[in-house]
Symmetry: C2
Subunit: 336 residues, 2 copies
Amino acid sequence: MGVVLNIEDGKRPSINRLLELTAADMGRVNELILSKAGSDVEMIPEIANHLISSGGKRLRPMVTLATAQMFGYSGDGHIKLATSVEFMHTATLLHDDVVDESDLRRGRKTARMIWGNQASVLVGDFLLGQAFRMMVDVGSLEALDILSTAASIIAEGEVMQLAAAKNLETTEDEHFAVIKAKTAALFSAAAEVGPVVAGATRTDRAALRSYGMNLGLAFQLIDDALDYGGDSKKLGKNVGDDFREGKVTLPVILCYRRGTAEERAFWKQAIEDNVADDAALEKALALMTRHGAIADTIGRARHFGEIARDALAPLPATPQKAALLDVIDFCISRVV
Amino acid sequence: MGVVLNIEDGKRPSINRLLELTAADMGRVNELILSKAGSDVEMIPEIANHLISSGGKRLRPMVTLATAQMFGYSGDGHIKLATSVEFMHTATLLHDDVVDESDLRRGRKTARMIWGNQASVLVGDFLLGQAFRMMVDVGSLEALDILSTAASIIAEGEVMQLAAAKNLETTEDEHFAVIKAKTAALFSAAAEVGPVVAGATRTDRAALRSYGMNLGLAFQLIDDALDYGGDSKKLGKNVGDDFREGKVTLPVILCYRRGTAEERAFWKQAIEDNVADDAALEKALALMTRHGAIADTIGRARHFGEIARDALAPLPATPQKAALLDVIDFCISRVV
């Protein structure tokens, strides 16, 4: 069911170089995560650790670390900023699962299924507060500006998505606006605070900001494609989760716009009236193949991936630059 | 049913002096609130305005404004900080109503009843993000430190309260720890950022921090007392709302600890098993009278009010000081 990409040299792209370059710093980030998720109120570390140990790749903090290293940063502010970025992400996941009423994340029960919606909302708030405290501790008003602006934009994007929920008339552009806000803004901020804390030039900051934004867009589009054709074990979610939740992602938008009147009626029933059983999913997957919706979603992701690549082009060749370029290929190859 | 206090000069305390001193600045705060709650995503200003127009007194931002004025501050940072404080408060209300599953706030439907839990969580996140952006804009790392720490502590207090929910064995001290975090921390931060932005001494900052903390404790205790004996129209909530929601507030804690075995069984049934109908409420009110639980809750509030008063004692006599002292009396007199 998966869509096979051509990996030119026959090897699957990996983020091994990024993992190696940031290994030592990530050790410190992981320590800081445990320490700042601590509280005498037991439920807080329990929930935080549930998410933290859930096997996410921690791509965002690694991006912050690599972008700070790239400009020769030698302090420890990037450790705190990377941890703040991961806490912002974790807080968003906690609130998202409540908003989406999700039962599973990466193959494990969501926090709200174990501790309830109430605790998920409040522990998310706590982690966000801790993220801001760490940023303040770094003392860079520019980094604070970038990350606090991202926090507003992410929430605005989530509300936008909620307001557009189940609206099949959503245009591709409107959808890009949503994923730019809810996903790409944090990647962009994660990539920009590295050069900021390292005192890089405005040009270099802009390059990394653009890299992060476009990487984030590609990342989200691939995520949306995976839901209709990925390997569920690898992804930790089942094929069709978005479909069953009635989410209007790009594959659905493309199918709906390209479909016949009869097909549009099918999508309305599936998404708006939630007739999304196995038979409906099978039909949805067939329509996606017919209209090339998955392949074109991946094509759109590649487009953003190329912009991310060009954003870094003027920068000198460094191990960090190579590692950040790997991330683009890795994200896109997840769909294979 | 209300408990009558002795108001020595026969007049009801008011916050008129505070209102007058901060009127011009509050005009600017209100403008900034409208502007920063704005978004192209319509649901955001709708929900924000629902809360903002709900007739709250805006005590917290007025405290920030007065404490900045008190130390001769002449910039406009206090306007942004006061607005940030109000946004933090509004975000907390939005999340609280979701966590408490509340239907009414100040006599009006809660946002979650109109727009749903999902939007309430996300718009709360947006307002919190906007609050941080405004603080960053002021550029005071000290003020950022105080307010971001308060954000963590508030969330921690809410989780603490959730973990202790319906636990009648909660001690008075444990309860004070909860209300200190969930309510008093924001009053304390609101009072401290004024002198901080005005460049006041550490001693003066500590005085205002202590004033805010103790005012906040008194405020919350009076709120808890009001639920069992206030004038429901004035409060915008009905007598017994906390009781029906099974909240373990100080009047309940005192009654439970002072009660007979038979009375404790009654409280267990009412709070833990939620047998909280009108008959149960009537019995609860009778037990509160028998044990002096409301009067003693007010007594505890007076104790904190006195500490707040003494915190300001060393400061020179200014109109702002007089106005801040009025607030203490006003808060406690709400229960009359």
